[in-house]
């Protein structure tokens, strides 16, 4: 072992001892943000710690927000490590530790369905390297060559003599060995833990109230804060009359937060919120005070015919194809703003002193949270730390912005030495989202006399997420993410259809409403626009929607395979039950190929029932098939909530929906049966947390057309009359 490694390990032990309250996931001990636990177990490498009782702790840079990421990554490490799966647990290193150790745990961001597909390689190698070191340590102990030893379930056996020892016994010696330079990874077809439908590691705590979420954090001497920011986007705080509420029960302080918010700090959150509701506040509403959904729609409509656009995909001469078509079809679609509505509202706990700032929070990107905390604290990153807790939902909100961390730190800074837990009310959460962006699309298709699609122009008009959230990601002003799933090539999201004359372009129109990454991101509307329009084209051409798509997908066998799989399983082309109608959709995004066939009925009064959706996904490698099925169901519930109910509207510069009474979420009675086909074809790694969301809404809309003859081109369905045309 080199001196440098020694130092970094010692640094790690010190910082983790200080941080262990947040480091341990607390599967055994309920985390109470309490005092440090001694970190004495040997670290084989950054990923693997083996305790004397044989517990294997897998350290994970990504975070758990419901998608089973922790379990999947632990499966991959355990697979290579050859340990006993029943003894595996996980923990989070902190972003401060990651910085101190040259980002040994890689990227902490958990978004874009990247939790597994972007970290499987280094994590599997971490497991394999640890296995080699543990076997070597056992061999050294016996004075035999490592090549004579084998391991199964954490028990090392010396073949010639039959002697055995365990990982727990040799861990200390292994931790002192030089890590191997090269490791061999298993062929996935030999997997026994990965690829299997094992149970999640984090379930038991979620059944008895013992899992501690960020909103549950307790710190000694902690006070609670409730906050209100100017409800008009871009508005500022003008004044407030603290004297009116300072005498109310429990109130300790009323503080301004940045230039646009005010918070009440009290002994309990309920008392803080009660005082905040009674606090007279004046806002300076600023330039957006007249912004409305109508004015935004006008702005987007203009973009549908604008001359200046960014091109996403182009082939042939689409103008000529449309001009020379035997038949053209034209339609305008739209997709309204959506809110993330994580069940756990935004919150963070912060402790600030002159020389240190600590934050406890739920984040999809703890390194970004740390940077935000440091800048708000006015301290170097090295004097700040963020402790992660499992998320009560993320869906992109807790990756897009750490505004809630900034606010908590700014409040704590005004009460040095006192930990402050700031919680947003549901209303605050609803009014200060980073919303799924708003777009419209105009599609024009050209059919020849035989009903073949000879040309397609898809014009998207609307908001770019990157232009607001990450302008460095723009390419000469163009937002490449606008074209998710519509790209000519690449590994993320390729358009499956081969159309000789094609133009997909974007007129960027950015209303002053903060946009964010919302589960599935731009694939949601891109799939809806294109897959519903494909259905329109098929009907205009007098062709079966499945056959029509199949012909256009001949050059993309993976796209075709998932579509064929759902069609076959759903019985496309065979009679559906009385009154039930089917619709199809396919799409590729986040590296995975997905398709759905929905079955719906619509009664005389126009009431919709979604009976069943058959879904297929080819995600390359399936690390945990039963969790993939859970993600298919979960993503459908999220996507269908948007289709059925989801619409954020604006009036006078403010969001009009403040809670679940006006922004309804799908409940059990609306949830369809879901039949999943997980069909990994094996030579790539695609995502699973998001991709299936893309196809739920267009498949249902196409089935509604089949049932009613009505083309619904913009959600939510709550606004539509579905009675038969």
């Amino acid at each position: 072992m080199t001196a440098a490694l020694d130092v970094s390990r010692r640094t790690f032990l010190v910082t983790s001892a200080a941080a262990a309250g947040g480091l341990a996931l607390g599967f055994n001990l309920p985390f109470n943000g309490g005092e440090a636990l001694a970190q004495t177990s040997p670290e084989i490498n950054a990923w693997v710690v083996v305790r004397p009782d044989e517990t294997v702790v897998v350290r994970v840079g990504r975070v758990e927000m419901g998608q089973g990421t922790l379990t999947g990554l632990a499966q991959l490490v355990a697979e290579e490590l050859e340990c006993d799966w029943d003894k595996v647990t996980t923990e989070y290193p902190t972003p401060g530790q990651n910085v101190a150790r040259s980002r040994v745990w890689g990227n902490f961001q958990t978004a874009g369905s990247r939790g597994i597909r972007d970290s499987h390689d280094y994590m599997r190698k971490g497991g394999a390297a640890a296995r080699q070191m543990l076997i070597q340590a056992a061999a050294d102990g016996w004075g035999v060559p490592a090549s004579e030893c084998s391991v199964a379930k954490g028990v090392v056996t010396h073949g010639p003599t039959g002697r055995t020892t365990t990982y727990g016994k040799v861990a200390d010696a292994a931790s002192k060995l030089e890590p191997p330079k090269d490791v061999q990874l298993k062929d996935p077809k030999d997997w026994t833990i990965a690829g299997k439908p094992v149970k999640r590691l984090d379930t038991a705590e979620k059944l008895n109230g013992s899992q501690i979420y960020s909103i549950d954090v307790q710190r000694p001497g902690m006070l609670n804060a409730a906050i209100k920011a100017c409800p008009v986007f871009g508005g500022k705080l003008k004044s407030f009359d603290a004297a009116q509420v300072e005498g109310m029960p429990g109130v300790r302080k009323v503080v301004s937060v940045g230039d646009n918010a005010v918070a009440v700090v009290a002994d309990t959150w309920w008392r803080a919120k009660t005082a905040l509701d009674a606090l007279p506040i004046e806002w300076d509403e600023g330039p957006n005070a007249r912004l409305s959904s109508e004015s935004i729609a006008e702005m987007l409509k203009e973009g549908l015919t604008a001359e200046q656009t960014f091109v996403g995909n182009q082939a042939g001469d689409v103008k000529a194809a449309i001009a020379g078509a035997a038949k053209t079809v034209e339609a305008v679609y739209g997709f309204p703003y959506q809110h993330h509505a994580t069940m756990e509202p935004m919150n963070a706990t912060a402790l600030w002193t002159n020389d240190r700032c600590e934050v406890w929070t739920a984040t999809q990107n703890a390194e970004a949270a740390l940077a935000t905390a440091a800048s708000a604290a006015g301290l170097p990153v090295g004097q700040c730390e963020v402790y992660r807790l499992n998320l009560g939902g993320g869906f992109g909100r807790r990756a897009t912005s750490h505004d809630f961390v900034r606010q908590a730190v700014l409040i704590a800074k005004q009460m040095p030495g006192t930990p402050i837990k700031m919680i947003w009310s549901r209303e605050e959460d609803m009014l200060h989202g980073y919303y799924h962006p708003v777009t419209q699309a105009k599609l024009v298709g050209a059919l020849d006399a035989d009903g073949n699609l000879t040309g397609l122009h898809m014009r998207i008009s609307g908001q770019s997420i990157l232009a607001t959230i990450n302008p460095q990601g723009l390419q000469n002003g163009r937002d490449p993410a606008t074209f998710q799933g519509l790209n000519p090539s690449g590994t993320e999201g390729v358009l499956g259809y081969t159309i000789p004359n094609l133009l997909i372009d974007h007129a960027m129109r950015n209303p002053p409403v903060p946009p964010g990454f919302w589960r599935g991101v731009n694939n949601n509307q891109n799939a809806l626009y294109l897959e519903c329009f494909m259905d329109e084209l098929a009907h205009a051409a007098g062709k079966d929607p499945l056959e029509f798509r199949r012909r256009l997908l001949v050059n993309h066998p993976k796209h075709l395979a998932v579509l064929n799989a759902v069609a076959e399983k759903a019985g496309w082309g065979t009679p559906a039950p009385q009154g039930v109608h089917r619709g199809l959709a396919q799409h590729m995004g986040y590296g995975s190929y997905v398709a759905a066939c929905a079955e719906v009925s619509v009664d005389e009064s126009g009431k919709l029932k979604i009976h069943r959706i058959v879904a297929a996904t080819d995600c390359g490698h399936a690390v945990n098939p039963q969790q993939i099925e859970a993600q298919i169901e979960g993503s459908f519930a999220y996507g269908l909530t948007a289709l059925l109910h989801g619409e954020i509207t604006l009036k006078d510069g403010k969001v009009e929906q403040e809670n679940f009474d006006t922004y309804p979420i799908m409940r059990m009675d609306e949830m369809p049966a879901v039949e999943s086909i997980v069909m990994p074809s094996g030579d790539f790694w695609g995502g699973v947390g998001e991709p299936t969301i893309f196809v739920a809404a267009p498949a249902v809309l196409n089935a509604i057309y089949a049932a009613t003859g009505k083309r619904i081109r913009s959600g939510p369905l709550a606004n539509a009359d579905l009675r038969r045309a």
């Binding site: 379930t203 549950d216 509202p345 549901r426």
Partner: protein
């Protein structure tokens, strides 16, 4: 000072009479398994039992609860996570983020108490709690599994 009986223990709490029971449970009593989701009786994350009835505690003021009423929270549903529903939830790996699950399990427990053999329709009609992660189908399957196992 008000007196509450929660999970078999009497707690003296210092809170204004109009404080929602949810926040008394979370902040004064310190039991954080009961969750805040909306505060307006829409989502069910705050569901507890009061004398066996599933109740959305965010919308019930402290003054409406008497010391004699028996409040049960998720922490008190069983001493060792052995309630048939908790076992079924574990068996079927129901939770995703888990945030809604305390409320879901408490709502389901009251449902089974009243109707030990619910149909799919009964379950869909009674289980109106929101799960943003979309675990509904597994929740339904777990309720049926628990009902079947309780029948023996």
């Amino acid at each position: 000072m008000a007196s509450l009986t929660i999970n078999g223990t009497v707690h003296e709490v210092d809170a204004e009479p109009d404080t929602p029971l949810l926040w008394v449970i979370r902040e004064q009593v310190g039991l954080t398994g009961t969750k805040y989701g909306c505060g307006i009786a829409q989502c069910g994350a705050c569901t507890v039992h009061i004398d066996g009835v599933a109740t959305r505690s965010c919308s019930l003021p402290l003054s409406a609860v008497t010391p004699e009423q028996k409040i049960v929270t998720i922490e008190g549903l069983s001493p060792d996570t052995s309630h048939p529903l908790q076992k079924a939830w574990l068996e079927l790996d129901v939770p995703q983020c888990g945030y809604c699950q305390s409320g879901q399990i408490m709502a389901a427990a009251a449902l089974l108490q009243a109707n030990p053999n619910p149909s799919d329709e009964d379950i869909a009609a009674e289980m109106t709690n929101i799960c943003r992660c979309g675990t509904y189908n597994r929740i339904k399957a777990a309720i049926k599994l628990a009902a079947a196992q309780s029948r023996g």
